[in-house]
Amino acid sequence: MINFDNVTKAYPNQSRPALENVNISVAKGEFVFLVGPSGSGKSTFLRLVLKEERPSEGRIHVAGRDLARLTNWKVPYLRRRIGCVFQDFRLLPNKNVYQNVAFALEVIGKNRRFIRKVVPEVIDLVGLEGKHERMPDELSGGEQQRVAMARAFVNRPMILLADEPTGNIDPATSIGIMKVLDRINRTGTTVVMATHDAAIVDSMRKRVIELEYGKVVRDQSRGVYGQAY
């Protein structure tokens, strides 16, 4: 589903590349934690998957497509198959829960009947039933992140990228967020989650890829956060 073949990404004016000779392969339906200290290249990895950046060297395949051969106007169609969740939620403050989720479908031109059918289902899936009319500032951090997850998942993407989704949320609420991610994963969606949260990684026992200074230092199935190697 995601294939990095000897990928190096160097930003201009920086001595050390953000990613260096990275080889990662994520299969369909996998749940992967991406761990490592700040600046280790986790965000660069996610940006490369979305083709927000181009690799300096190496090849990247996402959802069966060679990103180097993907023309610019086709990039939006790649992104429709990838859902994204961030630490800061990125909801639209002037739209309510339903409108925030529906927005993702409206802007890719889905028809109204489809939106009316699908959006409530996804809001239920993330556990926000009955809160359609709430505005983002009337929701807790955990609830806002659920809205963001509903928005990311509403178009049934093949891949869900989560960049520290629990970074702004207390540990108790984080468990609920992880349950939603797990539920999404069980529908067959590949989930890649970048995180600093050791407790979550340890409790989930999923594949762990650790980056340090842009290099993969550990790739372990059913791993934990801070294991020595």
Binding site: R79, R90, L92, V107, I108, G109, R112, R151
Partner: protein, 303 residues
Amino acid sequence: MRSQFVFQEIWIGLRRNLTMTMALIVVVAISLSLLGTGLLFVKQVDRTRTYWQGKVELSIYLCVKTSPEPQCQQNGPATDADRAQLHQLLVSMPQVQAVYYVTQQQAYNEFRQYFSNEPALVQDTQQGEIPDSFEVKLRNPEADYNIVASAVTGAQGVETVVDEMTILDKFYRLLDGARNAVVIIALILIVAAILLVANTIRLSAFNRRRETSIMRLVGASNFYIQLPFLLEGAIAGLIGWAISAGLLVAVKSLMLDSLEQYFSFNVGLSVGDLIEVIVFSMIVGVLLCGVTSFLTLRRYLRI
């Protein structure tokens, strides 16, 4: 769904940017109406010029009893022999395209018609006091005028030679000056309008950066992301154009038409001319807004 959504987004964009949008509309309206006025002027001047160029370029007035010029005093009024000789001379010149003879009777009738609102003047003027004339049409007015004029000046029976073009030149220069001023101001304003469109779109893109970043993220096509901005610019441009169209109609019916009343000849602009100018200014307006928005978006809305 699509269209409703797009219009909703445009409405939000226009409302958030209200002051900027209004400034844009006003500037577009003024610049387009000035441009249109300039174009109407151009048409009016062209029309007048063709009218006159189709007419006589050189008038040769002949001596009558009352002519004050010394050569007329000396030689007396022009005789039929003088007329025949003059006519012969003119016809034989290669520069002359056509010669018309206006009799004293015709000249007097024209005079009476022209000054019909000043009966005292008409009363005091007898037939025979208004000179008869040869009206000469030249092949190439600018180059041939002097040749023909010097050939007949001083000839027996000639009172004066008048170049119609020199009289009209002053009038043309006035119109040309007014037209140039209007067009230059219009061009400056169009530059201002372009900068304003760029700024408005930039501001709009900044105001809606959250929406656009999410649109990019969930895979909205570039066209879909840019469309609300482009239409926002285009709608502001169209409103401005509509106002300018109104102003142009006013300019035509109040200014140019009343100007026309001072002339005894019909060179007025038709409704078709007005529509042509208005359509042209719409194209300019839409291109101005559309192209500027598009170029601005390419800079400020990286996909």
